[in-house]
Symmetry: C2
Subunit: 408 residues, 2 copies
């Protein structure tokens, strides 16, 4: 039997949940989204401060992934597919501009620093993918998930996630020194988008009759468990078929949004989310190494300089992308700011570049710095932009969105 210190893991989970809740409450006291507190809680318990939580432990990775999958599933369940498709063109414009602009600016910044063109491509690519998890959670915390701007952002973040995967495949080949063909890129892109389309088209026919059967079962929790089996199954299928875990989970939510059990499923999944979702944000926060920020250490200065340029490229690139769909009549600044946070995907690029020897530790540090700063910047900025209205009475999770829908 593999050894596992179960009591130790219980203590770790208790600490993570406890600090996440505590800091979430403190963040709300100063009128900030709870997720900001959860991220800071992660920094505090992570290896570079208290050292209570090791975010790279395999088990924690699984809990964190379950958190982001359940979060995206919840978001999908809250999302009206028809309304999402209505802003589809706007979302696509934001997504594409939000990939091209940061990539171009990041590439230029790296060339300015005298770096090689392959290195500049890898670093530029790390600036492209928005962390849909953080963005969606902030919008949910602020009770804004059904604003037109939020729909554009959600659609763009999902497209951007798929585009990010295509770029990842290309960059992985480049970093390994292999050839990249147009046909190869096109196939990767077709498969990644094809999964989402095929799932939604087939699912619209298969899911409603299936869940009408589930509805006839007289056993508590059946709807929620059936929904989780669908979400996990589609997440697995999404990853295995060349798309992404969270795209599958989001698609599962979209498909179940129209079923009669939606509210029962939502109650069960929100309760699971209370447990799993903060573990994701604490794990993201725990991956931050605060020592990189110390400007008194001369060894940090080149990293801080490169990091500063990459941050400027990352923030301005996504912000400007929000203004590209000139025909959209909402607040374009909200869209741009909401696309700013980078997360897991940016770190995956950085890690891949480091492992292949393409990025040196300094540039790796600069990219992680960019991920951290953009992640921590977006929640207070969005709060500031949307601050005209107070945060709803019982926020911190997604249910208030339901309240907004049912109230006139």
């Amino acid at each position: 039997m593999e050894h596992l210190d179960v009591p130790q893991w219980l203590a770790t989970l208790a600490v993570m949940l406890g600090v996440a809740k505590g800091f979430g409450i403190l963040a709300r006291r100063i009128d900030q989204p709870a997720v900001l507190g959860e991220l800071l809680a992660g920094v505090l318990v992570g290896p570079s401060v208290l050292g209570l939580v090791e975010p790279r432990a395999a088990i924690l990775q699984l809990f964190a992934e379950l958190g982001v999958i359940i979060l995206l599933f919840e978001i999908g369940l809250e999302t009206d597919l028809a309304a999402l498709l209505k802003v589809g063109g706007t979302s696509a414009a934001v997504a594409l501009a939000g990939v091209v602009l940061p990539f171009g600016l990041g590439y230029a910044a790296c060339r300015l620093l005298g770096l090689d063109s392959v290195v500049a491509i890898v670093a530029g690519a790390a600036l492209t993918a928005t962390s849909v998890g953080i963005t969606a959670r902030v919008l949910a915390d602020l009770g804004r998930l059904r604003d037109p701007e939020s729909r554009v952002v959600l659609g763009a973040a999902v497209i951007d996630d798929i585009v990010g995967l295509v770029i990842l495949t290309v960059v992985a080949r480049l970093a390994e020194g292999r050839a990249v063909t147009v046909a190869g890129v096109a196939t990767t892109a077709a498969v990644a988008f094809g999964f989402l389309l095929a799932t939604l088209l087939l699912g619209r026919y298969l899911i409603p009759p299936l869940f009408r059967l589930v509805d006839r079962v007289d056993l508590q929790g059946t709807g929620t468990i059936a929904a989780l089996v669908l979400a996990f199954g589609l997440a697995w299928l999404g990853e295995r078929s060349g798309s992404a875990l969270i795209v599958g989970a989001f698609a599962a939510g979209l498909l179940l949004a129209g079923t009669t059990q939606r509210h029962e499923i939502e109650r069960g999944v929100v309760a699971l989310g209370h447990f799993f979702v903060p573990l994701f944000f604490v794990a993201v926060g725990a991956a931050v190494d605060v020592r990189v920020f110390d400007p008194l250490d001369p060894g940090n200065r080149p990293t801080l300089l490169a990091g500063g340029l990459l941050i400027a490229a990352a923030v301005s690139g996504k912000f400007l992308a929000g203004f590209v769909p000139f025909w959209f009549r909402g607040r374009k600044s909200v869209i741009g700011v909401a696309m700013i946070p980078r997360g897991e995907v940016g770190l995956i690029f950085a890690q891949m570049g480091l492992a292949s020897g393409c990025l040196d530790p300094g540039l790796f540090g600069a990219i992680t710095l960019m991920v951290m700063v953009t992640t921590f910047l977006a929640p207070p900025l969005l709060k500031h932009l949307l601050g005209g209205r107070p945060i709803p009475k019982r926020p911190g999770e997604l249910e208030e969105v339901g309240d907004l829908v049912t109230s006139p």
Copy 2:
């Protein structure tokens, strides 16, 4: 970063939840407790049949332990401590007789088979500990958690769990060939019971004011998360201080049963239980090697013979123990049958004996056979004994117990 195939784990969890729910529904169709279906689902997906789930994987162990901890916490939350203490003497009599009788009968059976006395002690010890998880879940499935017999059984199973730990410590020393002193055994026992007493006494003063503070927080899910932090923390403390994980989790439930947030906590924890609890029972089922049951394989016959004797000792020992508290005016047969299932602790004894070389693989197989048979026997037997009343309308989880309490 440690490697972990997250998509593969998602697929495994989806399979486990799907079959657990499917077989749970089938079990209910033939009017049996859902837990019986979940155990059978585990056998099906386990290594000896379909091979989809490896129950000894470290991550699965953690999920299964979370399941049993959340289950015992739920049970504690449903339990009235005063009512439990009222039957304390009866519970203690059942627990002690339920340790002494199976141990004596098992020891005699092994000596009859010509085994060494140390071997007979280890095998006898493996017969002593009732699996409180399985027993409690069956009683909950049948909606009988508040019957006087059930209270006696719950109290006895918790005492028996602590006694099992004391025996485990003693047997571990014996199996390693070390000396056992009376003072040593007394200390182990005092620590194991002392933890429960100290927790309940201190907790009665500390927990209510703490949860009144929690109640003032205006953030969804705070009560549930605070309760989980307490449950995981006490489980950890219980194990580390020489008592047991599940004793700590049960104590946390007992302490929160009287708070004003009890119902809010219960709703959240029940939803988490829908996810985690079936994973425990599927993991228990998956540990069953059905090949041991094949009487056509001559190699299985000595194991089947020893297993048969141990099963007779295990079943009759616990059944007779139910009749020891002659003053109790309830149905003693229900108590005896409810104490029959053995689980994790029996398997831990067997594994320890195998690892120390004290048990040969045949006797190890016989003990696992005894664990399986007693586990699968109790749910239908209890259903038969309590079958006069139909299973409540929406069973499968613990909420119906709440309904029983609120209805006249």
